[in-house]
């Protein structure tokens, strides 16, 4: 962190589709940097002091909820935990995540996309009796290492960075993307989910699924949670290739 006060130059994408006649454009704002400043703090500063119409999404502002992904100087990332001090020249260009419906300015509708993804991969435990078993009795045991491994894959926060960084998704609008593959990997690892490999194949065994991936691996490069996308996609693909 530098102690020197400097003026940051933010170039921000502005467009409000709700406003008749509004046109997409880049607008420059200057902000006096403070120690420990994040893009979260800077954007709020701009909204409160300069332009109250500026739209963006933050919730936890701690890198946990996945709301604030945007393209920062060309790279999709979580804005809340990006420190302004990491930009040597003090110039920061912000664009909304591509691949999602634009709500306005830096705000995109990841919620709609992620709900559809969850419905498509049936993102829940498939076990007929899970609503009938007695919760008074001891829970079903699980190998402690398996529980830890599931957690590793469940750390995804649905921020959408992997979707935005994916070239295949740009070519194939219905491509499931890494977030969907990670979810499927998570459930196929989970002994509580009784789905067979054949059933998983029905969900992802085509070009909009795991066979469509061109292995450019933008997902692996830009995942803010460092999830093992490369390994999991390779693993799912091999597993699916063995079906039939």
């Amino acid at each position: 962190m530098s102690d020197q006060e400097r003026i940051l130059k933010f170039q921000i994408f502005r467009y409000n589709p709700q406003k008749p006649g509004d046109k997409p454009r880049m607008v420059t704002y200057e902000v006096k940097e403070a120690t420990g400043m994040t893009i979260f703090i800077a954007l709020n500063d701009i909204r409160e002091q300069q332009d109250p119409s500026l739209q963006f999404d933050f919730v936890c502002r701690a890198g946990i909820c996945g709301s604030c992904a945007m393209v920062v100087n060309g790279k999709p990332t979580l804005a809340c935990r990006t420190m302004t001090s990491t930009f040597e020249d003090g110039e920061i260009k912000l664009l909304p995540l591509p691949g999602f419906e634009l709500i306005g300015d830096l705000s995109v509708n990841t919620g709609k996309f992620m709900r559809a993804m969850s419905e498509r991969v049936e993102s829940w435990i498939h076990e007929k009796s899970s609503d009938e078993i007695s919760f008074e009795k001891l829970e079903e045991r699980m190998d402690p290492d398996v529980a830890d491994e599931i957690y590793e894959l469940e750390r995804c926060v649905e921020c959408g960075c992997c979707v935005s960084a994916c070239a295949t998704k740009r070519m194939r609008p219905d491509f499931l993307s890494a977030v969907g593959f990670m979810r499927l990997a998570r459930y196929s690892l989970d002994p509580r989910d009784k789905r067979s490999d054949e059933e998983f194949y029905e969900i992802m065994g085509d070009d909009d699924g795991v066979f469509g991936c061109m292995t450019l691996l933008g997902c692996e490069d830009y995942c803010p949670k460092d999830l093992p996308h490369q390994t999991q996609i390779a693993y799912l693909r091999r597993k699916m290739a063995l079906i039939k």
Partner: protein, 656 residues
């Protein structure tokens, strides 16, 4: 006028709201959840450390059961909680956690055999039982007699919320995202849904329902620095207050967490101390054992926060440009433990502080964290005064936590309350038909339309962002960890003035659709009212209890203050709420008031306490052969919904 009908309307898509929605849906009632944001981004996700449930599988949880959890919860609340609710809660928590396990939460499990842990600064080897292998494990948290906090690394809230939302998706429950409830529809003491603003289009929609549940979380954002997410502004609580009919309970009961990072206020979990982390002062000295030789760093949160402040006031804080702080030392836990069980903490330290917590100390200080107060409900979750309005989770004053919540009891409350209140919501939907008049709905719709129009046409007036900042500063400066009459009176007077100024907000961006400034302008007057409920309630309560610590009244005063503060805002033009009190009946308590075991006990006792203690002794003497379940019934018989009545199994003792 756009109207959407449903049986059960749930405002808030966090753990509590989703669980209520699941319960009502499973009973066959149409349910819609409203959320400001995608449900999986709710503040529930930020709960790191864990969920309390007395499973007792881990060796350090051996001997745990409902009685021990009950005792810890009541003591933790400084006897402010509703013991009927606490009893229902401890009985249901093991079921809730097991259900979540079946729904997909990858709870950390017990591994049989030896493992090294840090207890009281020393490395100790504990041996997990063979027969516990693969069962849900637990870690130590503050204010508990047993290791009771079940967890998934330090992403517990995240995994719980994902499992819960996934279950809701499986059931096809609709979540209407980016919608904000700005007023409740009600007539003659009955609630019929809400007027809702679409945050994208700006359209107002009437959601008309038999039962309305508010599960919008706490009001931490009334304070400038808080661990809470930016959506925890208490708006659900405020719209209940604005009915003039529903009451809020114990709004002055606010919790400050001992360890949020400086300066941004992001939480580092209590699991850091539960797993063996220490608090150190500017000299690197471990000071907590001097103040609390018993529980040390793991005293109740309110106690630890006050001790830290006390120690900093002695000049022992570490000076920084953001004011004093102390150190949280987790280096002694070792890198493998941190990278496995405290990984969110590690990420937070790396990104926001630029430090490696396996090698360096973390700068922390007490920071606003939790709202014990909220919409006052009966044990069923229904408002005591507005029929058809329910509340669950942090938004509610159900009242599980009294004046201080134990770590790990908040996410536990969200799901347990969700289960229990959800059943009562379904019962309400079954027993009542929707008989609201169209003109009533229209009246509330017009009222909100007019308010927004006024905001959009006013040429000159107050800036909502500035009003909010002023309110947050008042709360920080004068309604904080230590309180006194002078500061509180000042806060109340200043908030009265802000309340007047908030009637005259003008916008720079006069657009009715998606408009962050308009959102702020709608919320800020509501937040100022809530802030006044907190400040005024704190001013009137001339005692110290749990998180409410009065420098001028340091003793807990059961004689005059064993009662719940109830606030309502009947007169819209008033600058102060109306305050009444609800007595807690000691003669019905299973656990009559006693010392919590921290510092000097200077409690002013209630005459009933000794009477009740004697009565309990006699009941025990006259019934020497009863087991703990029968004894509990003799002491305080309470109705628990049939579904959750059963006894809970544990290893080594079955259902006993």
């Amino acid at each position: 006028m756009k109207v959407i009908y449903t049986d059960s309307l749930v405002i808030g898509g966090g753990l509590a709201g989703l669980r209520v929605a699941i319960a009502a849906t499973q009973r066959g009632y149409d349910t819609i959840v409203l959320s400001l944001i995608p449900a999986k981004r709710s503040h529930s996700a930020a709960a790191q450390g864990g969920m309390q449930a007395s499973l007792g599988a881990c060796i350090k949880g051996d001997g745990d059961d409902e009685e021990v959890h009950f005792g810890d919860t009541v003591r933790g609340s400084d006897w402010g909680c509703d013991q009927d609710v606490a009893r229902m809660f401890v009985n249901t928590a093991p079921k809730a956690i097991r259900q979540l396990s079946a729904w997909g939460v990858p709870w950390s499990r017990v591994t049989k055999g030896d493992r090294d842990v840090i207890i009281n600064g020393e490395k100790v080897t504990i041996t997990e039982k063979q027969e516990a292998h693969g069962l849900i494990s637990s870690r130590d948290f503050g204010g508990t007699k047993k290791w009771r906090t079940c967890f998934t690394s330090d992403g517990t809230g995240h995994t719980m919320l994902y499992a819960m939302d996934n279950k809701a998706i499986q059931l096809g429950i609709q979540v209407h995202e980016r919608k904000e409830a700005i007023a409740l529809i009600h007539e003659d003491g009955v609630c019929y849904g809400a007027i809702v603003r679409d945050l994208i289009t700006g359209e107002l929609i009437a959601y008309v329902a038999k039962a309305t549940t508010i599960a919008t979380g706490g009001y931490g954002r009334l304070y400038a620095i808080t661990t809470n997410s930016v959506v925890s502004e208490g708006i659900g609580t405020a719209i209940a207050l604005e009915t003039g009919v529903a009451t809020l309970g114990n709004m002055e009961a606010v919790q400050f967490h001992p360890t949020a990072i400086v300066p941004v206020g992001i939480l580092t979990t209590e699991g850091c101390r539960g797993d063996g982390g220490l608090l150190l002062d500017k000299d690197g000295y471990r000071f907590m054992p001097d103040y609390e030789p018993g529980k040390k760093e793991l005293a109740s949160r309110d106690v630890v926060s006050r001790r830290i402040l006390e120690h900093m006031r002695k000049g022992k804080g570490v000076a920084s440009r953001y004011g004093d702080h102390i150190w949280l030392d987790i280096t002694l836990l070792g890198r493998p433990h941190i990278e496995k069980n405290l990984r969110e903490v590690k990420e937070i330290c790396e990104y926001f502080l630029g430090i490696d917590p396996a090698k360096e100390y973390i700068p922390v200080r007490p920071t606003q964290h939790y709202s014990m107060g909220g919409i006052r409900t009966k044990a069923t979750g229904e408002s005591q005064t507005l029929k058809g309005l329910f509340s669950a989770g942090e938004a509610a004053c159900w009242d599980l936590h009294g004046f201080n919540r134990l770590g790990g009891n908040s996410v536990a409350e969200t799901v347990v309350a969700g289960m229990i209140v959800g059943e009562f919501v379904a019962d309400y939907c079954f027993q009542n038909s929707l008989d609201v008049k169209g003109s009533t709905v229209e009246y509330f719709m017009k009222k909100e339309e007019n308010k927004i129009t006024d905001l959009l046409v006013r040429d000159f007036g107050e800036n909502p962002f500035e009003l909010k900042a002023e309110m947050q500063k008042i709360m920080m400066d004068d309604v904080g960890i230590f309180r006194n009459a002078k500061d509180l009176e000042k806060a109340v007077e200043e908030l009265k003035i802000l309340n007047q100024r908030a009637k005259n907000i003008a916008l720079r961006n006069r657009v009715s659709s998606s408009n962050p400034e308009l959102v702020e302008a709608i919320r800020v007057p509501k937040m100022i009212k809530l802030a006044q409920c907190v400040a005024y309630g704190a001013m009137l309560r001339t005692e110290s209890r749990g998180g409410h610590a009065r420098e001028d009244y340091p003793e807990r005063n059961d004689k005059d203050w064993l009662k719940r503060t109830l606030t309502s805002w009947k007169d819209d033009s008033a600058d102060l709420p109306e305050v009444t009190y609800e007595e807690l009946d000691i003669m019905k308590m299973e656990l009559p008031p006693a010392s919590r075991g921290y510092g000097v006990d200077n409690t002013v006792h209630h005459p009933d306490t000794a009477k009740r203690e004697q009565e309990i002794e006699e009941i025990k003497k006259n019934n020497p052969d009863v087991d703990r379940f029968e004894l509990q019934k003799l002491l305080n018989p309470i109705p628990i919904p049939e579904k959750f009545k059963g006894k809970n199994e544990r290893i080594g003792r079955g259902f006993k």
